[in-house]
């Protein structure tokens, strides 16, 4: 299946996402903030990035920009996990280069349905 990078500063959310994805047969790499995620993404090529927006050290939007600047992540799907569904937040995500978003709170089934869209 796919190799997925899950980025969230909340350990419980990370565990839930990771557990769900592993249950569906994916391989999961975890990171607690944008900086960690960027290092891990450089270390191993992943097929999909799921990232929270609000994080310490490096937030989600900066992470997207940084990833998009890497040749190997030019077209990689990056989904933002966000509770903020206001237009300008989405715009900011899009402008940074995010593929799409998944609105919190979501349950495992919604998560799997969404990643199916990008891993099709």
């Amino acid at each position: 299946m796919a190799k997925i990078l899950a980025v969230d500063d909340s350990a419980s959310m990370r565990q839930m996402v990771s557990f769900t994805l592993k249950g569906a047969g994916h391989e999961v790499v975890e990171a607690a903030d944008g900086k960690q995620a960027l290092e891990k993404a450089k270390g191993t090529q992943v097929d999909l990035v799921l990232s929270d927006v609000n994080m310490p050290v490096m937030d989600g939007l900066t992470l997207v920009k940084e990833l998009r600047a890497l040749p190997s992540y030019k077209f990689t799907p990056i989904l933002m996990l966000t509770t903020e569904s206001t237009g300008d937040k989405k715009m900011a995500g899009k402008q940074a280069g995010a593929t799409g978003w998944l609105v919190k709170p979501f349950n495992p089934d919604q998560l799997l349905a969404t990643i199916k869209k990008v891993l099709g």
């Binding site: 500063d9 909340s10 350990a11 419980s12 959310m13 565990q15 839930m16 557990f19 769900t20 249950g23 569906a24 929270d52 609000n54 994080m55 310490p56 998009r68 030019k74 077209f75 990689t76 799907p77 990056i78 996990l81 509770t83 903020e84 569904s85 206001t86 989405k90 715009m91 899009k94 280069g97 995010a98 593929t99 799409g100 978003w101 609105v103 919190k104 709170p105 979501f106 349950n107 495992p108 089934d109 919604q110 799997l112 869209k117 990008v118 099709g120």
Partner: protein, 734 residues
């Protein structure tokens, strides 16, 4: 695929407690006049994580409450709203509130916190007063099909899709979208290549194509919308029912709006939270029927009776208690140990194994020539043992910051209720002490800090009058000193009023008229039972629990507490505690053929020849006249009913010890070695014995009892010692 989310709850709870602590300390550090954006961000992130997690794991009451908190924080973060000390207070109260909600979930109790509704109302009022909150999206699966246009004759949709040039650069791929559409029904795709530039001008990463798609599927439009959800804002997208192919729709315009039916652009927060709850409870079977925002009138009435000022201590109390039980619950089961401590242990065990094998080899083939080697080995063994013991002890050691961390909030709340300006400084927070000692020292510390706040620091007016800065300072300081931990509570307040203390003491009969006391002795009076100088007993510290209880609790830990004070300049309370309750520095003493142990910390001095210092009292307790005091003498032999070597008192030896706020002299036969002893509980292994605090096993294998001074004093029925004409001389050996 169904996943049991409850397995993540414990992690979520712990994470939330941490987040709440972060919020609390950041809020306390906030200076409303100069707000550091990073601090606000930190608070926002913590609230945001708690909200996200609680929504995900089905704690909807927490989610909807935290949502309003977060919305207000977001406005502050965005610079739309200024932060005031009122908002800080509101946030602090909401932190308490969220903490209690999570504790209730954690304990598996039904959630019922009336204050939450009240606070939520305050937040909503505040939000309504300012700019409106951004609309919140309800849960994804709350799909209403009512938005569908009239059912077309031929079931399906015709879609014209022209993405922006850069669509690929966001990781979106039209091909994936078409596959997804195909999963809904049969799909015919026609590409429009008219926009392709000349090959020389082509950007290989751009998308120049447009498509017309016909989807034969009996699905609501929202399903089709969802496929293009992420790109709709940057694309030219027209979705029309197949039946009306090419004709104008009843809606007049093909729908090109980017809003999915799940969005509610409403500014009405109450409506949206109801929407949230309704949607979430459909989505997850949360078992909180009473977490509905539906308000019961009684709940508000109950809380309305509390005025904010008195509500605060009242609510802070149960919270503190709850968090204590909470902590106790989680901490009993586990302790976090730094990896370096574990590495140390492993190293020491390695050394021990080497020593053991060396001694083992010596033993196999021992001749007298190898004696030096044996002694060397034994020396090494004792060093290994000592180091290992220290390392094992260190495992249970935690930095005192765990206890100190509660004070910023306490001081903040109390100084507001009392109208005093106080700055709290913490130093030596990384000083480590045993967890069990830490748990027991919390309450005495709280009491001392409250006392400094209440009786020590003056009101701003009085301070200005006295030519001091109007903001008082309380410093909590901790450091290690010769195997003990010392904790100081320093204030720059008025200091102890010796005249008033003396007057009070005379009223209470603690001191008689003619007595002359040193300054230190006067100050020490405040630790005597039933002593309070507060003119009016305030609810801060004069709760009938006095300094005597503080001293008793500290003495029970084999520690001591003293006060030094300079009138007008402040006071320093100094607590000394052993680093651990498991090991005691003991003084071995002998009476007849029994060996007992006295805690070294309690020994003041020992006196070999005291002829001429004795005062025999008929029918009472003999007294030792020690410089300017009279110290009652306790004869261990008679109390424990054992034979002593000394046929007469003069043959013995007196050890002057201090316990339960008084000195006594214990008559023994001889002093033996001083050593560290490992304390074993007599109560757990046998039963409680008066005058004995525990037992230990000595090097020769015999069991020896550890004496409890306060218990001995009770056993001996010693009268409380009265001050007798004392002239100068400071008997308080540090």
């Amino acid at each position: 695929m169904s996943i049991d989310l409850s397995q993540f709850h414990q992690v979520f709870f712990e994470e939330s407690y941490e987040g709440l602590d972060v919020m609390e300390s950041a809020l306390l550090n906030l200076q409303p006049d100069s707000v550091d954006p990073e601090t606000i961000n930190e608070i926002f992130r913590a609230a945001h994580s708690i909200k996200g997690g609680s929504g995900t794991f089905g704690f909807n009451d927490v989610a909807s409450f935290t949502h309003v908190v977060e919305t207000l924080l977001d406005e502050i973060r965005g610079g739309v709203r200024n932060i005031t000390s009122e908002t800080v207070d509101l946030f602090l109260r909401s932190v308490d509130c969220i903490r209690r909600m999570i504790q209730q979930h954690d304990a598996g109790e039904p959630c019922d916190i009336p204050e939450a509704q009240e606070l939520k109302a305050s937040f909503e009022a505040m939000l309504a007063g300012g700019s409106s909150a951004p609309a919140e999206e309800t849960a994804e699966d709350d799909k209403s099909v009512s938005e569908e246009s009239s059912t077309p004759a031929r079931k399906g949709w015709k879609i014209y899709f022209k993405p922006e040039l850069d669509v690929l650069r966001t990781g979106n791929d039209p091909l994936r979208m078409f596959r997804e559409l195909e999963s809904l029904g049969s799909l015919r795709v026609t590409a429009d290549t008219s926009a392709l530039p000349l090959i020389s001008a082509i950007d290989p990463e751009a998308c120049y194509l447009a498509w017309t798609l016909e989807l034969d599927a009996d699905v609501p439009q929202s399903d089709v919308d969802e496929v293009f959800e992420w790109v709709v804002d940057e694309s030219d997208l027209k979705i029309t029912p197949l039946a009306l192919d090419g004709g104008s729709t009843e809606q007049g315009e093909p729908s090109t709006s980017g809003s999915t039916p799940t969005e509610e652009p409403s500014d009405d927060t109450t409506r949206l939270t109801e929407g949230l709850t309704a949607a979430d409870s459909e989505q997850q079977s949360a078992e909180n029927p009473n977490s509905q925002p539906a308000e019961s009138a009684t709940a508000t009435e109950q809380t309305a009776e509390l005025k904010p000022a008195e509500a605060k201590p009242a609510v802070a109390k149960p919270a503190a208690a709850a968090s204590k039980t909470e902590k106790a619950k989680t901490e009993v089961s586990s302790i976090r140990v730094g990896i370096d401590k574990v590495d140390d242990l492993i190293n020491m065990v390695g050394e021990l194994v080497i020593t053991q094998s060396m001694l083992g080899e010596l033993g196999l083939d021992f001749t007298i020539e190898s004696l030096p080697k044996l002694l060397e080995g034994i020396e090494q063994l004792s060093q290994n043992t000592r180091e290992l013991q220290e390392s094992v002890m260190r495992i249970r050691m935690l930095p005192i910051s765990f206890t100190f961390s509660r004070f910023p909030r306490l001081v903040h709340d109390l100084s507001r209720t009392m109208g005093k300006k106080i700055e709290l400084k913490l130093s030596g927070e990384q000083t480590e002490l045993d967890k069990t000692v830490m748990e027991k020292i919390g309450d005495p510390l709280v009491h001392l800090v409250r006392n400094s706040l209440d009786h020590g620091i003056e009101t701003p007016e009085d301070r200005i009058k006295a030519g001091k800065p109007e903001t008082g300072t309380i410093t909590l300081n901790a450091f290690h000193q010769s195997g003990n931990i010392v904790i100081q509570i320093i204030d720059d307040g008025a200091g102890l009023n010796k005249a008033r203390i003396l007057e009070k003491a005379k009223q209470n009969g603690l001191v008689s008229e003619g007595d002359m006391l040193t300054d230190d002795q006067i100050n020490d009076l405040i630790f005597r039972p039933g002593f309070s100088t507060a003119d009016q007993i305030s609810d801060i510290s004069g709760r009938g629990v006095g300094m005597d209880v503080v001293r008793r609790n500290i003495n029970e830990l084999n520690g001591s507490v003293e006060v030094e004070s300079t009138e007008g300049e402040g006071s320093v309370f100094t607590i000394r505690l052993p680093l651990t309750l498991a090991i005691l520095d003991g003084q071995l003493i002998r009476v007849g053929n029994h060996t007992y142990i006295l805690p070294l910390i309690s020994i003041v001095e020992s006196i070999q020849s005291f002829q001429g210092m004795l005062h025999r009292v008929v029918g009472g307790c003999d007294l030792l006249r020690l410089r300017d005091e009279y110290v009652p003498i306790i004869q261990l032999a008679s109390i424990f009913n054992i034979e002593s070597d000394a046929k007469d008192m003069d043959d013995g030896l007196l050890v002057v010890v201090e316990g339960d706020n008084m000195k006594v002299a214990i008559l023994i036969d001889d002093l033996e070695a001083q050593q560290q002893v490992v304390i074993k509980s007599l109560e757990e292994n046998y039963k409680k014995v008066d005058g004995v605090s525990g037992a230990t096993i000595l090097g020769d294998g015999t069991v020896s009892l550890i004496l409890d001074i306060a218990g001995l004093i009770k056993l001996a029925g010693v009268q409380r010692y009265e001050y007798k004409s004392v002239s100068g001389g400071d008997d308080y050996a540090a």
